[in-house]
Symmetry: C2
C-alpha cells in the first residue's frame, strides 16, 4: 500500500487531479440493466413495466432488440393526464423516436455522457452498440442504461475515499 503522507510528483493542481479522475471513468463500468418494451405495447402496460422494473426511462426496441425510441416518466404522465384510452394507445405514438434519441456507448466517458444528460435535459441514456440484422439492416442494439442515478452513485463512491 502507498504511504498516506509524503511527496508525490504530480505537476497538476488539485482541481486538475479531480477533473482527470472524473473524466477517466467509462460509461461501461457503471451502467444498469436496460428496461425495454416493444412499439406496440400500450401506454398502460408501459407504465406498469416502469413500476415493476423500477426505472424512470424505458427503451422501445424492435423485436430483434434494435433501438427505436425512448419513453420517459414525463411522457407517460402527460399521456395519462390527457384523457386518452391508455389501454389502446401504443407507446409508438408518444415516444421520442430515432434518430432523435440521444444515446451513449460503453467506451464514452461518464463525464461526456453526463454532459449529454444535462444539455438534452433527459434523465437517462440508452447504452448501445452497432449491430447488423440477419437481413443485412444496420441498427443500434441496446445493451445498458445510464441515468442520473448512476452519476449520483458514482459521485458518492468517488467521495468515499475521504
Amino acid at each position: 500500500a502507498r504511504p498516506r503522507v509524503g511527496y508525490y510528483y504530480s505537476g497538476r493542481s488539485p482541481n486538475r487531479v479531480v477533473a482527470e479522475k472524473l473524466c477517466s471513468v467509462k460509461v461501461g463500468t457503471i451502467i444498469s440493466i436496460p428496461a425495454v418494451v416493444t412499439e406496440n405495447c400500450s401506454v398502460y402496460d408501459a407504465v406498469v413495466a416502469m413500476f415493476i422494473k423500477d426505472v424512470g426511462t424505458l427503451f422501445v426496441v424492435k423485436e430483434v432488440g434494435l433501438l427505436e425510441g425512448v419513453l420517459s416518466r414525463k411522457d407517460l404522465l402527460k399521456t395519462t393526464l390527457g384523457g386518452h384510452d391508455i389501454h389502446q394507445l401504443p407507446v409508438g405514438v408518444i415516444m421520442t423516436r430515432m434518430p432523435n434519441v440521444i444515446y451513449t456507448t460503453s467506451d464514452e466517458t461518464v463525464w461526456s455522457a453526463a454532459k449529454k444528460l444535462i444539455t438534452h435535459q433527459v434523465d437517462a441514456l440508452p447504452v448501445v452498440r452497432s449491430a447488423t440484422q440477419a437481413d443485412g439492416g444496420e441498427g443500434l442494439e441496446v445493451i445498458g442504461r445510464l441515468s442520473k442515478t448512476n452519476i449520483t452513485r458514482l459521485f458518492v463512491e468517488l467521495g468515499e475515499g475521504q
Copy 2:
C-alpha cells in the same frame, strides 16, 4: 496563478484529493428554486404545476411556507393510472408526509446529500431551515431543491478543469 507544472507537497494520494474536493462542496452552492403547492391542491393541478415549473418533484407546504410533504413524478403517475378523479383528489392524500420526508440543509455537503438520494431512492430533497411561526409553532421552511440533476451538473463542472 499557480504554475501548471512542478512539485506540490500534498501528502495525499490522487483518490484522496478527489474525495476531499467532492466532499468540500456545500448543498447551498448548487441548489435550485423549489416548486411548491399546498395540501388542498388537486392531483391534476399538481401535475400541471410540475410541467409548468419543469421539475420532477414538488414540495407540499402549509400556507406559511412550512414543509408538509413531497410529491414525486412517480407518485403522480401511479395516481393518474389508478382511475381516481384527479380533479377532486387532493395531493395531501398521496404525498409522502412529514416526518417521513428526507431533507437537507444549505450547510450539509453535497456528498452527504447525494448519499441520502441514493439510500432513500428519491430524485430530489427539499433544502430547509428551522422556522418559528407567529403562533410559536416550529417547523421547516423550504428554501431550495437539490436533485440528481444538480449532482450531475456539478459532476460535469468539476470535470471541466481538464
